[in-house]
Symmetry: C3
Subunit: 347 residues, 3 copies
Amino acid sequence: MFLKNTWYVACTPDEFAGKPLGRQICGERMVFFRDADGAVAALEDFCPHRGAPLSLGTVRDGRLVCGYHGLTMGADGKCTSMPCQRVGGIPAIRRYPAVERHGFVWVWPGDPAQADPATIHRLHWADDPGWAYGGGLYHIDCDYRLMIDNLMDLTHETYVHASSIGQPEIEEAPPATKVNGDTVTTSRFMEGIVPPPFWAAALRGNGLADDVRCDRWQICHFTPPSHVMIEVGVAHAGKGGYHADPRDKVSSIVVDFITPETETSIWYFWGMARSFAVDDRALTETIRNGQGAIFAEDLDMLEAQQRNLLRWPDRPLLKLNIDAGGVQSRRVLDRLIDQEHAVALPC
Amino acid sequence: MFLKNTWYVACTPDEFAGKPLGRQICGERMVFFRDADGAVAALEDFCPHRGAPLSLGTVRDGRLVCGYHGLTMGADGKCTSMPCQRVGGIPAIRRYPAVERHGFVWVWPGDPAQADPATIHRLHWADDPGWAYGGGLYHIDCDYRLMIDNLMDLTHETYVHASSIGQPEIEEAPPATKVNGDTVTTSRFMEGIVPPPFWAAALRGNGLADDVRCDRWQICHFTPPSHVMIEVGVAHAGKGGYHADPRDKVSSIVVDFITPETETSIWYFWGMARSFAVDDRALTETIRNGQGAIFAEDLDMLEAQQRNLLRWPDRPLLKLNIDAGGVQSRRVLDRLIDQEHAVALPC
Amino acid sequence: MFLKNTWYVACTPDEFAGKPLGRQICGERMVFFRDADGAVAALEDFCPHRGAPLSLGTVRDGRLVCGYHGLTMGADGKCTSMPCQRVGGIPAIRRYPAVERHGFVWVWPGDPAQADPATIHRLHWADDPGWAYGGGLYHIDCDYRLMIDNLMDLTHETYVHASSIGQPEIEEAPPATKVNGDTVTTSRFMEGIVPPPFWAAALRGNGLADDVRCDRWQICHFTPPSHVMIEVGVAHAGKGGYHADPRDKVSSIVVDFITPETETSIWYFWGMARSFAVDDRALTETIRNGQGAIFAEDLDMLEAQQRNLLRWPDRPLLKLNIDAGGVQSRRVLDRLIDQEHAVALPC
């Protein structure tokens, strides 16, 4: 069960540089390419001639040429030419609204008439020279909601990431969860802690002492359909924590786009946006590699959890204190999915 | 859906030299071996004792010995002996009519009573010292009719085989399709073209100039159940093309036997028969390797097409001009399959 | 169809040294670990919090700590603690009776109330310093009854193990099968044979001549649910065979525990217990390697047989003379399974 009338991150532009990209989003098999104007186009990955995947073809003059018999599709899903053949009678294939923005390609797998690019999730840091970003993509065989649960409850860091970013203070500081319309926020504040290695280095890089006690925060923001942005940072203790003067703190945003492929698999786009040392490309790469290794630790657990849930389909999951973030996020999703389905039914 | 009361190419004799060969043909699991007279035998690949595949056994004195407990089966499917056991009560297993001819083993997966070796497809070149043959075998996960479509429309050469045998003139010359009883023929003639590398070499090998314009032809012959023989060749331009005097042309036959394994997989026997330089074994090997590499280019496309068709089961395929060969071949098959099923029903 | 109210060998203690072991037994997914007293515990492999497999976690102070969020389970299946959370309301998970005995871990996958450790199969040699044991574990994709059939009819040695322990005399000596309550015994005696290499070496190791004719025996004992112990040995010919004075013979026990994982897969624990040269560890290793290689020869055949039986589900297997051991064993099992199911039904 997922929302379809909404914008998902489908891919990054480098994934279809030179050749079309085939990718399944919310159960829809799509092919991504650039049209003659350089704009992103997304079509059904099915040649109307003999059913070959168009993603095995090539792009010529902004049109998609099927790799089997040369049928050529425009970005609007209409066939424009074919060898030895009039094309007037060839049925168009489905076009998916797609927009390139903030460094990602966003796609709308549902009703195209409702697709409004103005509703694409805004990433204030993405086009701001005061910020730097690095990230990656993982394919994981799990329900997208298991990943939302994972990110909206960072208690798991103590166990899954015990050897990297886990810190005993995390599980000692109970999280607080708030719902504001469709947004869910889970916050955890740790006071007077020793900054862990990542933050010690960030403090030094920002000209701040790293041998003093700090206040640390993790503020997870869920917004539909499945975006989780996590504000993380440290400030010198007693300077106001999250609200401290920028000269006393260092912070960044953990970026997570969780795009359903099927009911039990996802494309997981992860990254980090930071407002310190933004010109240090080596640091961007170091963070990316470190984050990639840490996030990979979740993969096995999520896939094992998914397999177990499929084996015990009737067994309810518990909703404990620490699960409030995921529980509230699922509640928002359930409501929106119900609305979407209600609209789709005849009155 | 495939014909069962017909002869299919099942394997080549070298595949069961020394040990029995297990192979599924039209959904029937068979084991092939040679009986005491050296004749080919095909039985159900199921030991009547405990169900072990007989193809894991050995051949002794023209009988098949089960590799589990030594039950011995004659070529007629009857058990002839077993250690410590009378064999009178052991039920016979199914025997499939099988004939070795033209360098292939032909099997009849349907009603044995109707199997007449006189109806095996005749390969005039196979036993003629004026011809040479080389070929190979691929397993492909696709409906056998997708391969018939592929071979009865060589337009795909321009796209799938762009870097090898594709030639722009192919798609500029519209094909013509004729039906004659159960045989379908699709022909394409290109006039005044530059001979591509393969044919330039063949011209030279036959003592003909290779630096002149040529007429080229591709004549695809479908015959049931799923054989496609393609006459291909070039003649010096203006000498009569396909009908030119043998001293002005060079030609060969592309040989394709498409044997269903299941509804969505095939054993694809491919090869080339030629009437020039027939004693040149190195040339046979060179052609075989080249053809194998080119035909391998079709595999990915056919398997991707099959997967796409299974994902969109209700979506009709188009029948365009270029598809006439495949469309007519399927029409012949549909008619014959209907006849076969009608006979099988009680009156 | 398998018995569930019975003791199966689940694993060996070294398999969960240091970290918990996840294993499916009779369709039940279990996790094995040691409690604070060092006793073996088996629980459902499902964290009651979010469904993660507990086998991905760790053991701390004799309790199982989930690797996802740190929920801690006691050996009784009750949650004892969790970060930031009262645990009173967390439901217990299923505990399986488990006992460590004779070097193996035995588990009872059925009704715990009926589990009596006194009914665990007794291995007289296991705790006797006059015996040595070596063995291993294979996972095989076949119904556990196919392995019982295999072991209760050693005729297959002549074919499956032709190059190792097979001997023509095996199939010349018809087996005799007796049923005694729930126990089935199949015996084969060969008189005046040349001792094969394994037994020649064993004779020498015991200070007995190896260049004389011998009497050889194989006595297979089936006991429910799926244990097969095979007494094997040789004695100098004419000295009484199986009943000969210990100074004239050498013998050992082939040990087989066949534990269903699912309806069509097993955990196969195999080994050999011997009462000669018991301090010779190198010999234990040599025998283990040899036996492992020979028993691996059965794997392909059993899995191929299983696949064939699934393809021909309606085809009855034959019950020939040599199959009496397996047939009688299945008859015992059918009776006990019927009893178990009858009890489970309401009166």
